[in-house]
């Protein structure tokens, strides 16, 4: 490398970082190895039963994160903007499912004294998901139309602020509409919270909750469906075309506006499904429900390499696992699980600045 290439100048600019990164890397990995060794071998803090429980919880959480993260990634891939209001779309989906259950709970059906919800439980769950997903998809659709579409040519920060405004608006609108109280999700009896298959590990019962298995399986199914849509269908092809190059896509006959609208519909529907799952599994929803999962899912999307579909799925699962297994594995307080999640994010980005599966374009593209 000769002294007068631009590469040289760039490297000169990040000399300090070059020094810091390896030192930090060695320190972090040494510390991690020491802690894990300490917890697993020396102290033997937890038995296999606890590890199984944590693993299950992590997978369930990861599934939900993956679904929401996909929404961030889809939108980012096409518009290069952070849809900050995506968590709120998820929360509205959770409310949609909640109200479907509430209505079905009071509609009489079947034999006397029983109601639609438990007479046709599968249909009820299906209807709840349809309700939640369609309301979320609609909210996503109109969000794009009102708050993002006019800003497509604006500088980068502008749509972000618009998204923050939309997020505040949606949160407060839901709070004003339905008050700030916590609302209890009424599941059909076949999906009672707390119930599940019990397996014995290490002489203690480990419960695999029905709700958890249900939401994990469903999120995997939805992810596969989405992946097929993006890979195999005409819509997916136009989405990829628009993501690559809007102008050329338009010249080739792709309706760019329609494709972007459909992308928002799709990501909204996935967020809605995640919201209903969140409600079914965790039981409590309120207007602020979407905020933290939204931030986490965004973290997951960045972790996996934003704009990259498998990356978002992997990032979601990884983040879920880190949050539930991580604190135990490193022997730190469970209160600090969010700290751990963000530290992992920072560490991953320091060593791989475009995420786990992201193409390392940050440097080459310059």
């Amino acid at each position: 490398m000769t002294a007068d290439t631009p590469t040289h100048l760039k490297k000169k600019g990040i000399q300090a970082a070059k020094l810091v990164r390896p030192i930090l890397g060695v320190l972090v990995s040494l510390f991690l190895i020491y802690r894990i060794f300490d917890v697993l071998v020396v102290q033997k803090s937890f038995g296999p039963d606890t590890w199984t429980r944590l693993l299950i919880a992590g997978l369930i959480l990861g599934g939900v994160y993956a679904l929401v993260a996909i929404g961030y990634t889809l939108v980012y891939g096409i518009l290069f903007m952070i849809n900050f209001a995506h968590g709120e779309v998820m929360m509205i989906g959770a409310f949609g499912g909640y109200f479907v259950f509430e209505i079905l709970k009071v509609i009489p059906a079947g034999s006397s004294g029983s109601y639609f919800l438990n007479t046709y439980p599968y249909l009820s769950i299906f209807l709840a998901f349809v309700g939640g997903m369609s309301i979320s998809a609609l909210v996503g659709f109109f969000l794009e139309k009102v708050a993002y579409r006019p800003l497509r040519k604006a500088p980068r920060l502008v749509p972000l602020i618009s998204a923050i405004g939309a997020s505040m608006f949606l949160q407060n609108a839901m709070q004003l509409l339905f008050s700030a109280q916590l609302r209890n999700y009424t599941n059909p009896d076949i999906l009672r919270r707390g119930a599940g298959w019990t397996i014995a590990i290490n002489n203690s019962d480990v419960v695999i909750p029905y709700t958890g298995v249900f939401s994990f399986v469903l999120s995997v199914v939805l992810l596969i469906i989405l992946y097929t849509i993006v890979r195999k269908t005409k819509l997916g092809r136009s989405m990829r075309a628009v993501a690559l190059d809007k102008k050329t896509a338009a010249l080739m006959g792709v309706d760019v506006d329609r494709t972007i609208s459909l992308t928002f519909l799709l990501s909204g529907a996935l967020a809605g499904a995640a919201g209903v799952m969140w409600g079914i599994h965790n039981g409590m929803i309120y207007y602020y429900t979407g905020f933290i999962p939204g931030i986490k899912a965004f973290t997951a999307a960045v972790l996996g390499g934003i704009g990259n579909l498998p990356g978002a799925m992997l990032g979601g699962l990884f983040l879920g696992l880190v949050e539930s297994v991580g604190p135990a594995l490193l022997g730190i307080d469970f209160q600090l699980k969010d700290v751990l999640a963000f530290v992992i994010l920072i560490v991953v980005l320091i060593f791989k600045p475009s995420g786990l599966l992201g193409e390392s374009l940050a440097e080459e593209k310059v």
């Binding site: 631009p6 100048l9 760039k10 000169k12 600019g13 990040i14 300090a16 970082a17 810091v20 990164r21 889809l74 891939g77 096409i78 518009l79 290069f80 708050a147 800003l151 980068r156 502008v158 602020i161 405004g165 939309a166 505040m168 608006f169 949160q171 407060n172 609108a173 004003l176 509409l177 339905f178 008050s179 890979r231 990829r240 993501a243 690559l244 809007k246 102008k247 973290t299 960045v302 934003i306 990259n308 579909l309 730190i332 307080d333 209160q335 600090l336 700290v339 999640a341 963000f342 920072i346 980005l349 320091i350 475009s354 995420g355 992201g358 193409e359 374009l361 940050a362 080459e364 310059v366």
Partner: protein
């Protein structure tokens, strides 16, 4: 009328109808109505609005809808405009009336809609059920229809300006005003400058003594946010690095002063002034520590990492693990403030302290902006690669921006903690960071008057809107979106060098960290 015009009018009606339904469901109509009645001069309690206030609100909404609908018909005759508003009015009235009808139906079947929509106003339900039973539906219908048509008629008679032209007018008006204030020959400019300065000093000297402690508190908070805004402006506005966890530096400043001047947990009692300097240094040092590893991240990656950093600081401050050192969720209480001539600061003293700090921050910011570093920052903001190629040590200057910005935040945090005699982890939540970011963007990024105006708009204005407390954040969110749609460059836009090469790709093109959803490697997205 053409088919498209009919559809447009109907669409306008539907949009207004949906807005109306939303307003009713959150009780906004009663609140607005009683504000209206209050403005007119009738005595009306905000907490117990009357049916009259609902009618006032309905008429206003109808008029507005009619005007908007008629406005959309470009260069149309009076009859056409009235027709357009009639169509809009029909849709709006049908939607509004359907809502009342549904509510009547629910109430007669003894289902209380307030169980689901707790903020629904009582007078509205009363109007649905008792006062106007039966006929209420029709009265409602004709109030909306009549006022909408009236709006169209008014528009046709006076030829109210169209949306785009009025926006243009407003823009030129603001521009002219700006030129009037700052323009003129050099001599006049100088005189104006000194006159302005003198006026400012006069206000600053007299006013804090005259205000009550409440206004000192409010304006003091605004002042602290000005400092924060200037700090973030160095990072985001000047050097173009999107940092979202900015409030973490504020927290470090606040906690430094708190822990060194409170009896619990350490009882060090260092005194305010040395700990203030320590707070600034510590915040800047944290900026350095954060900046070193993440310096080569760009755009959204930097945003999320700094957001994560902010959350880490907050959670650590709150956690049980660090409770012996930070006071945990309860925070640090009973912080001793600065002493001057042997007695403690009162609110007026704090106000002067804050004013002094703001002036200092403005001075430093101004000097930096026009310095070598300032130019380097702006070069990095416009195009990092080009800046690098022209010999700017981008790494160094980005770090410098982060450190100085953090130092500003540390200063604000230190004063904040001392003034409130308390600091806790929840004061430093993510929303605060976002507030600061919104402040500089609403005001106009990268300039001092914009920051001042943004701080007043975001921190002062909500205090004036105490009456609409519940709807504050809702309106604020909607305003933020509207602001970005109408005036994305902020209330007072900065003068920035405008590129005159029309065919260049978008300015952030090179900052894209990665490609599209399923983008082939090596290919670039040319147009977003």
């Amino acid at each position: 009328m053409k088919k498209s015009e009919v559809r447009q009018s109907l669409n306008t009606g539907a949009v207004f109808g949906i807005i109306h339904i939303f307003c009713v469901l959150i009780g906004f109509n009663a609140m607005m109505g009683s504000l209206l009645v209050k403005i007119v001069g009738q005595k009306s309690d905000l907490s117990a609005p009357t049916v009259a206030s609902l009618v006032a609100y309905a008429i206003l909404l109808g008029l507005f809808a009619g005007i908007v609908s008629a406005r959309r018909q470009h260069e149309a005759s009076l009859a056409k405009r009235v027709l357009a508003s009639l169509l809009t009015g029909v849709v709006l009235s049908i939607l509004a009336t359907a809502l009342v009808g549904i509510f009547q139906l629910l109430l007669t079947n003894h289902i209380n809609p307030r169980n689901t929509f707790p903020t629904l106003s009582f007078p509205f339900m009363k109007a649905c059920l008792f006062k106007l039973a039966g006929k209420g539906v029709w009265i409602n219908f004709f109030i909306f229809l009549g006022s909408t048509v009236l709006g169209g008629l008014l528009n046709g008679l006076w030829d109210l300006p169209t949306v785009t032209s009025s926006r243009k007018n407003a823009n030129t008006w603001i521009k002219n005003l700006g030129e009037k204030i700052s323009g003129g020959s050099p001599k006049v400019k100088k005189i104006k400058k000194y006159a302005f300065l003198g006026l400012a000093i006069l206000i600053v000297a007299i006013v804090p003594v005259e205000w009550g402690s409440y206004w000192n508190y409010v304006i003091g908070t605004v002042g602290l946010y000005v400092i924060l805004g200037l700090g973030l402006n160095i990072i985001v506005g000047l050097s173009g690095q999107l940092v979202l966890g900015f409030i973490a530096f504020f927290a470090i400043g606040a906690y430094t002063v708190a822990l060194l001047n409170a009896p619990i947990p350490f009882n060090i009692m260092l005194g305010f002034w040395p700990s203030l300097i320590l707070a600034i240094i510590l915040a800047a040092f944290t900026g350095l520590l954060l900046g070193l590893p993440i310096m080569n991240l760009r755009g959204d990656y930097l945003a999320i990492v700094t957001l994560g950093f902010g959350e880490i600081i907050r959670i650590l401050l709150k956690s049980d693990v660090l409770t012996p050192f930070t006071g945990g969720p309860r925070g640090v209480q009973d912080i001793h403030g600065p002493m001057i001539f042997g007695h403690e600061f009162n609110d007026v003293n704090y106000m002067y302290l804050i004013i002094f700090a703001v002036l200092l921050a403005i001075f430093v910011y101004n000097r930096l902006q026009n310095s070598r570093s300032g130019r380097a920052w702006m070069a990095i903001r416009e195009d990092e690669t080009v800046a690098k190629a022209t010999g700017v040590n981008t790494g160094k200057y980005k770090l410098l921006a982060l450190m100085i910005g953090a130092a500003f935040a540390g200063l604000a945090g230190a004063i904040y903690a001392a003034r409130n005699q308390y600091t806790g982890p929840d004061e430093h939540a993510m929303m605060a960071s976002i507030n600061v970011l919104c402040l500089i963007i609403v005001g106009g990024m990268g300039n001092i008057p914009g920051t001042l105006l943004g701080a007043f708009a975001l921190k002062g204005l909500p205090e004036l809107l105490r009456e609409v407390e519940n709807y504050r954040m809702l309106v604020f969110g909607a305003l933020l979106v509207a602001m970005m749609l109408i005036r994305p460059e902020g209330l007072i836009p900065s003068k920035r060098p405008i590129r005159d090469l029309p065919d260049l790709p978008d300015e952030n093109q090179s900052q894209e960290p990665t490609g599209a959803a399923v983008q082939a490697p090596g290919e670039q997205a040319h147009d977003r």
